[in-house]
Amino acid sequence: MEHARCLRKLCGIGYRLISQNNGLRDSSKLIQYRAFRVNSAVQQQPLVERPEFPGSSAEFTGRLEFVEPDVASGIPVYRVMGRRGEIVSPSEDPQLPQETVVDFYKSMTLFNTMDRILYESQRQGRITFYATNFGEEGTHIGSVAALDPTDLVFGQYREAGVLLYRGFPLDLFMAQCYSNADDLGKGRQMPVHYGSKDLNFVTISSTLATQIPQAVGAAYAIKRASSDRAVICYFGEGAASEGDAHAGLHFSATLECPIIFFCRNNGYAISTPTSEQYRGDGIAGRGAGYGIASIRVDGNDVFAVYNVTKEARRRAVAENRPFLIEAMTYRVGHHSTSDDSSTYRSLDEVSYWEKQDHPIGRLGRYLAARGWWGEEEEQAWRKEAQRRVMEALQKAEGRPKPHPDLLFTDVYQEVPPHLEKQKGAMWKHLKEYKEHYPLELYEE
C-alpha cells in the first residue's frame, strides 16, 4: 500500500489533471498522437503522458489495483414474463398474436411429448440412446421463432426444438433415432444427432463445441455472399469451457461475423455443477472480454428469449458483428439416458424447477390468463400430440435399417478403390457367414 501511495504521488499531478479535465484530456491525446506520429516526441512533449502500447487503449493509473470480477451481482437476467405468466415489463411485451403464442405452446408441448415417448423407448431398449430437453423448451422455441427460416443453425445436441419448430417431420426425428432406412443421415450417427439441409440445420456431432468456430466460418462466408442471413450457434455452458469456444468467440469479433452465440446455461454439464465449470460471471460475463455485445436472459421466459434473439439477429446482420446470449435455465431431465442425475443432485431441486419455474407451465399460465387456451384444448392437444408421436414411432419401428453398402459411401465424395475393395470383401464374407449377421433387418 505504501508503495502504491508513493507511486501515486509521483505520477499524481499529471494523472489528476487528466482525470479532472476531460477537455484537456482530449487535446492532450491529440498532441500526444501527433507527437508520436511525427516521431519528435522530445520537442512536442505533451503535458500528460498517455500509454502508446498498441495492445490496448487505456489511461495510465498510479494505483496498484487489480480488477476484481463482480460475480456476486452479475449481468442481470432479462425477462418479460413472471413465473405466474404475467407480463412484468409491459414495454417489453412483444405482443405476439394469439395464434403465434399458441403455436409456441403447441410446439413446446409436442416437443415435450416426443421427448417423453422417445425417453421411454430407450428405457425399453428400442433405441440405443436419447437425450431429453425437459426444462429447456423455451430457449429453443423462443430463439428459433425470432430467426429467419434461412438463418443457418449450428447446434450441440439439445436443440431439437429448433428443428421441430422449423417443421422437421416427426417421422424424420424417429427415423434418425431408430437409424432406419428413412434417416437422412443414413443411420450412421447415434440418436438425437439430427440434421436438415432443407431447414438450414447443420448436422449435430458429439464432439462438444467444435461447431462454434465452424459457425463463425459459415457466418463469414454468408457475410461475403451478402445474403442478409445470420448464423446462430447453440451450446451449453459446459461446452463453453472448450478451447473451441474461445476460438469461435474470438474469431467472430476480429473477423466481424453476423452470428448469434446462444448459450444454454442449465446449471450442469452431466454431473458437473457450474461452480466447478467456471468462476466468472457465467458465460455472458465473458462476452465483453472478446469485444462481443452480450446479454443474459431468463431461458424459461419464451418472450424474453424471443426478444433478445430478435434484436441480436437484427443487429448482427445490420452491423456484421457477433452477439452473445446466455439463456439461464435448468436441465430438468437427466443428462441423457446413460445418466441418473439423482446421484449428484437432489430431487427437491429438480422438482422445484419442474413445478415452480418451467417454460411450458409459465406460457400455459400466460395463455390461460388471456383465455387463449383452456383445459379442454389442453386435453385435446395432449391427446393429439401423443397420437402423432406414437404413429411416427410405430412407423419408424416397422422400417428396415439402411442398406449395408451405405457403410462405405460418403466417406469421400467418391468411393475410392480401397473402399470398393473393402466393400467387396465384406460382401464376400457376409455371403459365407450370413447366419452370424442380422442381414434380415437391413434393406436389400
Binding site: 443457418l152 449450428f154 434417416d183 437422412l184 443421415g185 443414413k186 450412421r188 450417427q189 444427432h193 440434421g195 436438415s196 439441409k197 447443420v202 448436422t203 456431432s205 464432439t207 467444435t210 462454434i212 468456430p213 465452424q214 459457425a215 463463425v216 466460418g217 459459415a218 457466418a219 463469414y220 462466408a221 454468408i222 461475403r224 455472399a225 478451447g243 473451441d244 474461445h246 476460438a247 469461435g248 474470438h250 474469431f251 476480429t254 473477423l255 459411401t409 460418403d410 466417406v411 469421400y412 465424395q413 475410392p416 478403390p417 480401397h418 473402399l419
Partner: protein, 393 residues
C-alpha cells in the same frame, strides 16, 4: 502454439535474407562470407560449419502442355496456384496466421493487395480456430484455404480435422460437407528446425478416413497438386516441404493446371528395386538410384507417392511385382510411419513376388533433434546401404 515459430522468425527479422536463413541450411553463402572476412574464426569454423544439404534438387523436363511457363521456386508456385484460385473462384478466401503481409514463407505475397482484405486475411493465433473456421466457410459453400504456419502446429486442430472435417459428409448422410476446405502447411526437415519446425505428421492423418493428404516434391507438382486439392470435393491437407520453398526452382506453367490426386508418379523406370518416397525424400532416393546404378549396377524404379491418403497402391504393387524388392523411405519416425502401411499392403499383394524383406529407411523413433539432424535423417547413404543389403539378401 505457433508462438515458437513466430519467435524463430521474429528474432531473425522478417526480411528476405533472414527468411532464407530460416528456410534452409542450403544458403550457406552468408556463413561463407563471414568466414572469409574474419580469418580469426577458423577455430570456430570447425564447430560452426553448416552441414551440406542432404539432397539435390534437379529441375524436371519443361512442361509445355499447359501453356507458357515461368521460372518459379516452390513458394512462388504456391502463390501462383492461390492466385489462379482467387481469380477464378469469387468465393475463395485465404486465412491463417500472418498470411496478410505475405506469410512467413512468402507464399501469399501480393494476394491481399490484388484480391482484397476480405479474401486474404489474418486470423487470431489459434490453430483449432483456423481449421474450425475453415470448415464453417466450406460448409456454407465457399472455398476455404487455411494455412497452418508449420505442420508441427497442426495438432491443436487435430480434433477439428479428424472428428469434424473428415467425418462431415459421412455423418450427415451427405447433407452437409466441407469438401471445399484445403489446409496448407509447411512440412519436413529444414536443417536446423529441431523439434517443432521439422515434423512430418502425415502418418497421424493417414489413419483418418475422410481426408486427403498430399505432398509435392517440387514447384511443378506443388502447383498442380495444390490446385487439385482446392478443386477436390473432399477436405485436403497439403504439406509443403519448406526446405524446397527456395531451393527448388523449375519452369512452372503460369495458367492453372491439375495433377490428379491418389496417383503416384514413376520418375524413373527400373527392374531390380522399387524405391518409394514423397516430398523432399524423393530427391534423396533419386540420387540413391543413381548411386546404386553406378556403384552396384542395380536398376532402381523411383516412385513419388504424392498422395498419402488415399494412396495409389496399384502403381506401387505393379512396380514391386516387376522388381521383386521394395524400399520405402520417409523423414518421419519409423514406428507407425506411413511406410508401415505401404509395406504391409505390398506384402499382402505381392507376397509371391518379393525376393527380399521390404526395407523401411525412416527417421528414428525420437523427437526431431536440433544438432543431431545429420545423423537423424534417412539420408542417401542410409538408403543406399539398405538397397545394397536388399540386393545381397
Amino acid at each position: 502454439m505457433a508462438a515458437a515459430a513466430r519467435f524463430l522468425l521474429r528474432t531473425a527479422g522478417s526480411s528476405k535474407a533472414s527468411i532464407t536463413n530460416v528456410n534452409s541450411g542450403l544458403h550457406g553463402k552468408y556463413g561463407a562470407t563471414l568466414l572469409r572476412v574474419s580469418p580469426s574464426c577458423n577455430l570456430l569454423a570447425k564447430t560452426q560449419r553448416r552441414y551440406a544439404a542432404h539432397f539435390t534438387f534437379q529441375p524436371e523436363s519443361v512442361q509445355t502442355e499447359y501453356g507458357p511457363t515461368q521460372k518459379m521456386n516452390l513458394f512462388q508456385s504456391v502463390t501462383s496456384a492461390l492466385d489462379n484460385t482467387l481469380a477464378s473462384d469469387p468465393t475463395a478466401v485465404i486465412f491463417g496466421e500472418d498470411v496478410a503481409f505475405g506469410g512467413v514463407f512468402r507464399c501469399t505475397v501480393g494476394l491481399r493487395d490484388k484480391y482484397g482484405k476480405d479474401r486474404v486475411f489474418n486470423t487470431p493465433l489459434c490453430e483449432q480456430g483456423i481449421v474450425g473456421f475453415g470448415i464453417g466457410v466450406a460448409v456454407a459453400g465457399a472455398t476455404a484455404i487455411a494455412e497452418i504456419q508449420f505442420a508441427d502446429y497442426i495438432y491443436p486442430a487435430f480434433d477439428q480435422i479428424v472428428n469434424e472435417a473428415a467425418k462431415y459428409r459421412y455423418r450427415s448422410g451427405n447433407l452437409f460437407d466441407c469438401g471445399n476446405l484445403t489446409i496448407r502447411a509447411p512440412w519436413g526437415c529444414v536443417g536446423h528446425g529441431s523439434l517443432y519446425h521439422s515434423q512430418s505428421p502425415e502418418a497421424f492423418f493417414a489413419h483418418c478416413p475422410g481426408i486427403k493428404v498430399v505432398i509435392p516434391r517440387g514447384p511443378v507438382q506443388a502447383k498442380g497438386l495444390l490446385l487439385s486439392c482446392i478443386a477436390d470435393k473432399n477436405p485436403c491437407i497439403f504439406f509443403e516441404p519448406k526446405i524446397l520453398y527456395r531451393a527448388a526452382v523449375d519452369q512452372v506453367p503460369v495458367e492453372p493446371y491439375q495433377i490428379p490426386l491418389s496417383e503416384a508418379e514413376i520418375l524413373q523406370e527400373g527392374s531390380d528395386v522399387t524405391l518409394v518416397a514423397w516430398g523432399t525424400q524423393v530427391h534423396v532416393i533419386k540420387e540413391v538410384a543413381a548411386m546404386a546404378q553406378e556403384k552396384l549396377g542395380v536398376s532402381c524404379e523411383v516412385i513419388d507417392l504424392q498422395t498419402i491418403l488415399p494412396w495409389d497402391a496399384e502403381t506401387i504393387c505393379k512396380s514391386v511385382v516387376k522388381t521383386g524388392r521394395l524400399l520405402v523411405s520417409h523423414e518421419a519416425p519409423v514406428t507407425g510411419g506411413f511406410a508401415a502401411e505401404i509395406s504391409s499392403t505390398v506384402q499382402e499383394e505381392c507376397f509371391l513376388n518379393l525376393e527380399a524383406p521390404i526395407a523401411r529407411v525412416c527417421g528414428y523413433d525420437t523427437p526431431f533433434p536440433h544438432i543431431f539432424e545429420p545423423f537423424y535423417i534417412p539420408d542417401k547413404w542410409k538408403c543406399f546401404d539398405a538397397v545394397k543389403r536388399m540386393i545381397n539378401y
